[in-house]
Amino acid sequence: MIGPQIIHLDYLERIWQLRYFIFALVQNDIVNQRYKGSFLGVGWSLMRPMVMTAILCVVFGKLFNRPLAEYAPYLLLGMTTWQFLTESINQGCCAFITGASYIKQQRVPLAIFPLRIVLASAFHFLIAFGIALAVTLIFRGYIDPLALLALIPALLILFLLAWSLAIVSGVLQAHFPDMANMLEIFLQIAFYVTPILYRPEDFPNRGRLMEFFDWNPFASILALVRTPILDGTLPTGQQIFLSLAFLAAVGTLAIFLLRKLERTLVFWI
């Protein structure tokens, strides 16, 4: 009756049945947890990327010799998107461990715990992203309405990717406690080899480096969000393909890990 594999089609349905529980948890995470008793409240989650961007704008805008009106929207859109992904991965590590008291009481589809974390950071991301759009509008004076339309599939891909990444990091962390530290270093490196602060074109002699940027899946994901707004065009076919392939790979890995390890995960947390 009970095999090790329990991801069937009804898995999503079981998640849907717990939707009120998930939303109540997310609401609690947003309202009570992170900013309890703080003056700015949710405003703090906006302050950090804003202040970071302001400083980076001044320093790197000068370094790369780019006008503020052009650089600020680029940086802001990239930073908020990147922060959403890293937050999902870093906090995804403890998704199952913080959910342990629920997992040990009742059988639940475990994917809801990474989902809870991703939904909470998606909330902060959407606010920050809205501000990034507003800043773009102020500096540029115009955003193509069609670009906003192109954002819908882009954000959907981003969300599914974040959920998959959080599942993977959560399962890994439950089995290997070293994971969180390793991922943090990895993300630190990834931040600098992904065009967030700079454009690939900023490098004087490209060649090899350009090729690397072309194949960096994070770069493609960022392009998916950034290109329509900033350039008014769709991302390149390769970028769309790479993003989807990356999502498919991480998503498959997440489903595979859950299929293999979901039932026994309770022993490790």
């Binding site: 009756m1 009970i2 090790p4 049945q17 717990l18 009120y20 529980f21 109540a24 948890l25 609690n28 009570n32 947890q33 309890k36 008291s101 629920y102 997992i103 040990k104 009481q105 009742q106 059988r107 639940v108 089995h175 290997f176 406690p177 070293d178 994971m179 390793m182 039932r263 026994t264 309770v266 022993f267 490790w268």
Partner: protein, 251 residues
């Protein structure tokens, strides 16, 4: 019709000897097979076969470490089994650790809702129960405060009121709760009895043998993860007591 059917069920679980398996151990294990992995497997349940049908009240007894709680969690579908078949028909409600699984920064009300949703309620189905739960806790305005301001007794009341506000077909209980002050205890006992009478099947682990003898129709006696005896409550408990008294450290 609620039913629980176990056929030759084995359950093993891994235990990490040090707190957790480090990456170092994985790598060393992969490179040089000789290095011992920090994992041991413990056989917690061994070849269990039994059927519990509608209307039964079953107690699980045994010494510490006999696998009582593990069996309860296996019935509840929380632990995966290695061999055999487990078949459970009916909605399950499990009362294992009453005080855990609360969000301490959320208010009493928020926790009542959160708990309800976790157990499958919807906002509509919960609406009718909120008032009743609140009245039973006697917490009044404290329900608007975050749980971290609660005393242990208050927390227990809240947890107990929420947990027992359901109508499950199968009820799994680990130990009988020790709840709050004396007045509350009487009230809690009454509510607990009503709660247990509503369920079609009750399976409970307990050391309170007198209560088990009075309440249960059948008793499963576990010993080192195997069924030592299963039968009518009175006889099984008597046999268990007879043997336990012969142990040198028996109380």
């Amino acid at each position: 019709m609620a039913q629980i059917q176990f056929q030759n069920v084995d359950l093993e679980y891994p235990i990490r000897e040090n707190q957790s398996l480090t990456l170092k151990e994985i790598i060393f294990h992969g490179l040089f097979r000789k290095v011992k992995r920090g994992i041991r497997t413990v056989k917690a349940l061994n070849d269990l076969t039994f059927t519990i049908t509608n209307g039964e009240r079953v107690g699980i007894i045994g010494l510490n470490g006999a696998g009582k709680s593990t069996l309860l969690r296996t019935i509840g579908g929380i632990f995966p089994i290695q061999r055999g078949t487990r078949h459970v028909d009916g909605s399950i409600c499990s009362l294992f650790d009453i005080g855990v699984g609360f969000e301490l920064n959320a208010t009493g009300w928020q926790n009542v809702r959160l708990r309800g949703y976790f157990q499958g309620e919807t906002p509509t189905s919960l609406k009718g129960k909120l008032q009743e739960i609140a009245e039973f806790t006697e917490l009044g305005d404290f329900l608007d405060l975050p749980l971290r301001c609660y005393s242990t007794g208050m927390l227990t009341r809240l947890a107990f009121a929420v947990a027992t506000a359901r109508n499950p077909e199968i009820l799994l209980i680990d130990e009988v709760f020790g709840t709050g002050d004396v007045v509350f205890q009487k009230k809690a006992e009454q509510r607990m009895r009503e709660f247990m009478h509503r369920a079609h099947i009750v399976v409970m682990v307990g050391h309170h043998l007198e209560f088990l003898q009075e309440f249960c129709t059948r008793v499963i006696w576990l010993h080192h993860g195997s069924i030592r005896a299963i039968g009518p409550a009175r006889e099984t408990i008597r046999a268990y007591l007879g043997e336990a008294n012969q142990l040198p450290n028996a109380a």
